[in-house]
């Protein structure tokens, strides 16, 4: 063969070099060098079949498992692995949401009634704890929702785990429903949890009596209700976005874009034409308006609050519709 004398340069520092021949028909001059394995270990591997004859629990137990998987993932390993940035941010928001708790306690200890009145439980403060725009609904809660919903539906398709999970006796709607509940619960832990802390910190630190509690408790419950409304709305929109997209980030970004973008848009219109009606397309502002009406805080919008309520309901209805349509047509295979 003529190629045999093709030189590999003398300077080429090659140790295991060899001139490779064409695929087959290789004749005499095969060169080879071999390195020996340093150790030789063997492995005897015996398989013992262990049958199992337990009974499987019914539907509610399976659903509980799904819920638990997602919720506990926030706290410990071994359940759904939420990303580290997400967890860090959740902690940050949890702490940041407790500024009013901290200030209440601080002023209660200092005994400054004037400052205390500024920070203690009251209509406007309860409203602000859940529905205030800056910073809570601009930087905290929508971001929390965005981080949580990002990929929560689409991950199963991108990981391929949907094929594994849906081969279990699980109903898709149960599966997504439990994810919904889990995501909402995590947000509730932050938003409603800190709200409760705030309320009880106030009672404890100021030694409030029953009269005060009876007086403010309906207001507190209303705020809780508004918080639930906020969580449900953000979660519905977020999960609907998560179900229509494949990516991990798209739903989060889209949720932020919807919440902040519509608000900016409405603000432009208000600035230019002095009309607040466009705030109806902003989920946050609609909820805030409903909250202002229910809690009794200062109204910041010109249109009737019932319109905002209708708008909030419409947001939820549309999102849940999209979600359920997507879920029922969900592919089980990997995309």
């Amino acid at each position: 063969m003529s190629e045999d004398d093709v030189p590999i340069e003398a300077s080429t520092p090659v140790t295991g070099q060899s001139r490779m021949d064409a695929a087959w028909g290789s004749e005499s001059d095969s060169v080879a060098s071999v390195a020996r394995p340093s150790t030789q270990t063997g492995q005897v591997f015996e398989q013992v079949y262990k049958p199992w004859d337990g009974t499987l629990n019914p539907r509610w137990m399976r659903n509980w498992a799904i819920f638990r998987h997602h919720l506990l993932g926030i706290f410990r390993k071994g359940h759904r692995p939420w990303g580290v940035p997400t967890k860090l941010f959740l902690i940050f928001v949890f702490i940041a949401s407790m500024t009013d708790v901290a200030l209440t306690l601080l002023f209660a200890i200092l005994g400054e009634p004037g400052l205390y009145e500024l920070w203690g439980v009251g209509r406007n403060n309860l409203y602000a704890h859940v529905l205030g725009f800056f910073p809570r609904n601009m930087l905290f809660y929508p971001l929390v929702a965005a981080l949580l919903v990002g990929g929560v539906i689409s991950e199963d398709r991108s990981n391929g785990t949907s094929a594994l999970y849906f081969s279990r006796p699980i109903n898709r709607f149960d599966y997504v429903g439990m994810k919904y509940l889990a995501v909402a619960s995590i947000q509730a832990l932050i938003i409603l949890g800190t709200l409760m802390l705030y309320y009880f910190a106030d009672i404890l630190s100021m030694g409030r009596g029953w009269a005060w509690i009876i007086d403010t408790f309906p207001m507190f419950l209303t705020t809780m209700f508004c918080g639930v409304l906020l969580i449900v709305t953000y979660t519905s929109i977020g999960l609907a976005l998560s179900s229509v997209s494949r990516g991990k980030f798209f739903p989060g970004i889209a949720l932020l874009a919807i919440i902040l973008g519509t608000k900016t848009l409405a603000a432009i219109v208000e600035g230019l034409f002095d009309k607040s009606i466009l705030y109806l397309i902003s989920p946050y502002d609609s909820i805030a308006h409903v909250g202002q009406a229910l809690i009794g805080a200062n109204m910041m919008y010109d249109h009737p609050w019932v319109w905002s309520l209708v708008s909030v309901l419409a947001f939820n209805a549309i999102s849940l519709y999209v979600l359920s349509v997507r879920v029922s047509s969900m592919e089980v295979t990997r995309e």
């Binding site: 060899s18 490779m20 021949d21 064409a22 087959w24 060098s33």
Partner: protein, 329 residues
């Protein structure tokens, strides 16, 4: 043009000229580590021409090796040279390289024809040239009838072939195929194997990795065995086996009269042990496989034995790999 900021020393020439005497692929003491984990350690290797199978278990460093060659990864030590050029610094050698990556993802939203055409144009072909080339390579891999359908609708084998087509479009001198046969049905596999053999026969350098040993064997005898990032063996599979002569080779013959055949075989120097598992079976131990096989047919024919079966249980890739890697995972 685009400044090559990371370059050291002289500017990169635009008209890339391969170094004429350099081997197509050369690795000198190349290592790649990820933190504490060593994917490849001190591999030296030079290849030009022919089909070479890179063998190794999952995680042996085959893909790392290819990615180093394709400039996807930067070697933590040693030199990598593709046609004499460092591929991490300069993508010019890829004008002669076709690469079929391991991962299954493809641009599902385009047709195979568009896919191949687009990537042909990255070689500097015009639109029309690229279309011609695309038609040719797609024909070559047998996708002509479906080439205007979306890749997303292709089966695994078709996707694999589309990938190969895109790699062949520049008529490369070096073709690197990372697990090309994985997930293909027998028909597709046979087709792809034909393609690879064909390329080898044309004098192209083909590197292919696989862990389906019987298939490598059908394509080539030239192998490189990697294990845990180390180069374990390189060369002809039989030559490698022969070098490992401290373990006797076993040859099993099935014939009508084992004892009679044994008597004749015994005269050969290379035989150093015999065994009779059954009356019609003869097991021969030898240190010199080639020597023995050279003489065996003559003995059989001369003495008119009736040999039905010759089996060589040690002489396949699987055994070699098992032996070299010490049977561990």
């Amino acid at each position: 043009m685009i400044p090559d900021v990371s370059q050291t020393g002289e500017a990169v020439e635009q008209q890339w000229v391969p170094q004429p005497k350099a081997p197509v692929v050369m690795l000198n003491n190349v290592g790649k580590t990820y933190g504490r984990y060593q994917a490849l350690g001190g591999v030296s290797l030079a290849l030009s021409g022919g089909v070479t199978g890179i063998l190794g278990l999952n995680g042996a460093g085959k893909s790392t090796l290819f990615k180093l060659l394709m400039g996807k990864l930067r070697a933590t030590q040693g030199e990598v040279r593709l046609f004499g050029t460092n591929p991490w610094k300069n993508p010019a050698p890829y004008a002669r390289v076709g690469y079929v990556p391991e991962n299954e993802s493809l641009h599902d939203w385009m047709t195979a024809f568009d896919f191949v055409t687009t990537f042909a144009r990255l070689h500097g072909l015009t639109r029309d040239e690229a279309k011609l080339e695309a038609e040719r390579v797609l024909e070559f891999v047998g996708l002509t009838d479906v080439m205007h359908k979306k890749i997303g609708r292709y089966s695994k084998g078709m996707r694999q072939r589309a990938k190969i087509a895109h790699a062949l479009v520049n008529d490369p001198d070096l073709i690197i195929l990372d697990e090309p046969l994985q997930g293909c049905d027998p028909l597709a596999r046979t087709t792809i194997m034909n393609v690879i053999r064909e390329l080898g026969r044309m004098g192209r350098t083909v590197l292919l990795s696989s862990h389906i040993l019987s298939e490598i064997e059908r394509i080539t005898e030239q192998i490189v065995i990697l294990h845990q990032g180390r180069l374990l063996a390189i060369g002809n599979v039989h030559a490698i086996r022969e070098q490992l002569d401290n373990i006797p080779h076993t040859i099993e013959l099935e014939c009508s009269d084992a004892k009679a055949l044994a008597r004749d075989v015994l005269s050969l120097d290379s035989v150093h042990g015999l065994q009779f598992p059954t009356t019609t079976k003869l097991r021969i131990f030898t240190h010199h496989l080639g020597e023995f096989h050279k003489h065996l047919p003559t003995i059989v024919v001369e003495n008119n034995h009736n040999v039905m079966n010759i089996n060589n249980p040690d002489d396949d890739l699987q055994t070699i790999l098992g032996y070299l890697t010490g049977g561990s995972r």
